[in-house]
Symmetry: C2
Subunit: 351 residues, 2 copies
DNA sequence: GTTAGGCGCGGTAACGTTCCCATGACGATG
DNA sequence: CATCGTCATGGGAACGTTACCGCGCCTAAC
């Protein structure tokens, strides 16, 4: 009654109640070195009795480790990044750490502001999907970090976790070729985005392997959003084309926008236009037709990034660059034009 | 060169460089009381020169305010909650605070663990969508908090932010009646969830106003997921029914699952079965047909919750319960059976 | 001309924790 | 029996910050 009016119990309260010094109490509650089992038990009991809870702020001050990690992604509202955040969150929780989540909206200023906020909050490290095309902000960051997503390439000295875009693109290209499609039209992201470069390079590389001239590929760009994909698709449809159109979108949101644009134009997917996406967001399943897509392992990426960040924080030397494999999810948005199945195309309809 | 090898500059470094005491440096950098403009400037310059950044951990220890807020929601992967998180995030950032995000997966144990983590991290307060049907964990929480979502009802003494379910349900019911539908079948959440109770109560209340016996409403339950909605819809379709079926789902994910189940059953939406949802998640737009739904203002809710939390943290007395209005988003999943438009039903097709 | 008050500044304590060192007791070994 | 080592414990410092208090100077008022 004398204490505890609003104040939260400290280790001194525990020590007093157990009749020991705060040093002993601390020993009992953390490492178990040099302490009688009996005293330890007495302290633990006292701690439980007063409802003691270690103050992470104080621990952080003393140890220099705050037990917090930062996550800077473009938009938590984007289902793919939500998956990443979830994976990171769970993995962090497992290690007893908390996650500070920030959305940069693909905005360099916001990103810089968030990195500053993370430094002030004294996070132990951060997982970052950088949007800036230069790495000045990252250089200035000064804390351990792991890059996530497609932007890792330029920063060779840094640990990173991404998906294997080359393998993913191959998966997609192989699939659409196996379904009888030729070189696809492309919907890609904005110019200054590194993700766009990686995607395009993988496509070109694959085209060359197949003796296709990459230059003949029609291409439109847009923001990595449904609206961006919709607009890009409209422009694509406005071009001259003969026969079935096949579109490879660099991102599922854009792919879904593309499907919507197809419908708006009075065309049918996949009968008139085939669309294949890239990301593997859950909502692709309940688009209509279901979105055929190359799925990145978002949740795994988040989890692995946290793992990597921890080893970055602890034993500095281990620089690793991890590329997790993608997998193909076949739903209904890609027509089967192959010779064996000339009329399987009509399947998607139903209405 | 003597200092700074890895160490981050403290206010003492700033003070030394400016040739003042750390007290003066602190005064210059925080409140501006009792300090010469000239000294202040000198300190600020010195701070910039050494790259000083205030240590929030230390500030937190000293002041008792950590500048961090907690957010505990069922699942960041659920688009609705992602919207809420985003709104909270932005609002917190505006006030210079950071947000710790946790997903409870509708799991009481996890929720309790996350609340403990938040206390240890010394957050200043939390925004919580409680899943437990009792409030023991919340009682034990001991920090300022604001409830968010449908579970606020039982805790009359607590500030809360939610959507106006009653008004939302009325919006949905009025809409489906205006389109010529009778009493809808319901797809609701699991038994022990407070959200379910609120939804059902609103529906019943509205039925009574319209002289409909609530008891005649068919009802199936499921998890608040696409799969849960799909299964519930299958069971609903297995029942006897005549004519057009109209379904009011308590959540958009379930509504989308319902549409998928309709398609799987070889039926058409909205020609054979009408579906209306509740949440207003963005992905409802690119389902096919587009999901007609009652939209909650998720982002606003998150933002208002942070506002409320701050006033809870600062001037305790202000207990407020806020219910933000829902709005109807009309897309294609609800057939128009009204007399004026007997054949408008076919519209949704297009294929 | 003397004194009171205001203002700018420096010293110090305190927030809660952990780590290092000192102290004392006890057991083991010569 | 004496000495050394081990081990449980207590005391104190330090992490970086801010609030409080006291000191000295300058100005204004009597």
């Amino acid at each position: 009654m004398s204490k505890s009016r609003g104040r939260r119990p400290t280790i001194i309260d525990v020590a007093e109640r157990a009749g020991v010094s705060k040093s002993t109490a601390a020993r009992a509650l953390t490492g178990s070195s040099n302490i009688t089992e009996e005293t330890r038990e007495r302290v633990v009991l006292a701690a439980a009795a007063v409802g003691y809870e270690r103050n992470h702020l104080a621990v952080g001050m003393r140890s220099g480790r705050s037990g917090m990690l930062g996550l800077v992604i473009p938009d938590i509202t984007n289902p793919f990044w939500a998956e990443v955040a979830r994976g990171a969150q769970d993995q962090a929780a497992e290690a007893g750490a908390s996650l500070l989540v920030f959305s940069s909206d693909w905005d360099v200023e916001k990103e810089a502001a968030h990195l500053r906020a993370l430094r002030r909050a004294r996070v132990d490290g951060a997982i970052i999907n950088p949007v800036a095309d230069n790495f000045d902000d990252l250089d200035r960051f000064g804390l351990p970090f792991v890059l996530i997503g497609s932007s890792a390439e330029r920063f060779v000295e840094t640990s990173s976790v991404g998906s294997d875009i080359t393998q993913g693109v191959r998966l997609g290209m192989d699939h659409l070729v196996s379904k009888g499609h030729g070189a696809p039209s492309l919907i890609v992201g904005p110019k200054n985005r590194l993700a766009r470069v990686r995607f395009l390079r993988a496509v070109h590389q694959h085209c060359i392997e197949r003796d296709i001239d990459p230059a003949i590929l029609a291409m439109e760009e847009g923001e990595y959003t449904v609206e961006g994909g919709k607009q890009a698709m409209r422009r694509l449809l406005a071009r001259d084309h003969v026969g079935h159109v096949c579109v490879f979108a660099a991102n599922d949101m854009m792919a879904i926008g593309a499907i919507m644009a197809v419908r708006e134009a009075g065309l049918r997917c996949p009968e008139d236009v085939s669309v294949i996406g890239f990301d593997g967001i859950p909502s692709g399943e309940f688009a209509w037709p279901g979105l055929t897509t190359v799925a990145k392992p978002g949740r795994d990426m988040g989890a692995r990034a946290v793992e990597g960040l921890f080893s970055e924080i602890e034993h500095k030397p281990e620089h690793r660059r991890i590329y997790l494999p993608c997998r193909l999810i076949e739903r209904g948005s890609l027509a089967d034009l192959s010779a064996q199945n000339p009329r399987r195309v009509a399947r998607g309809g139903g209405v």
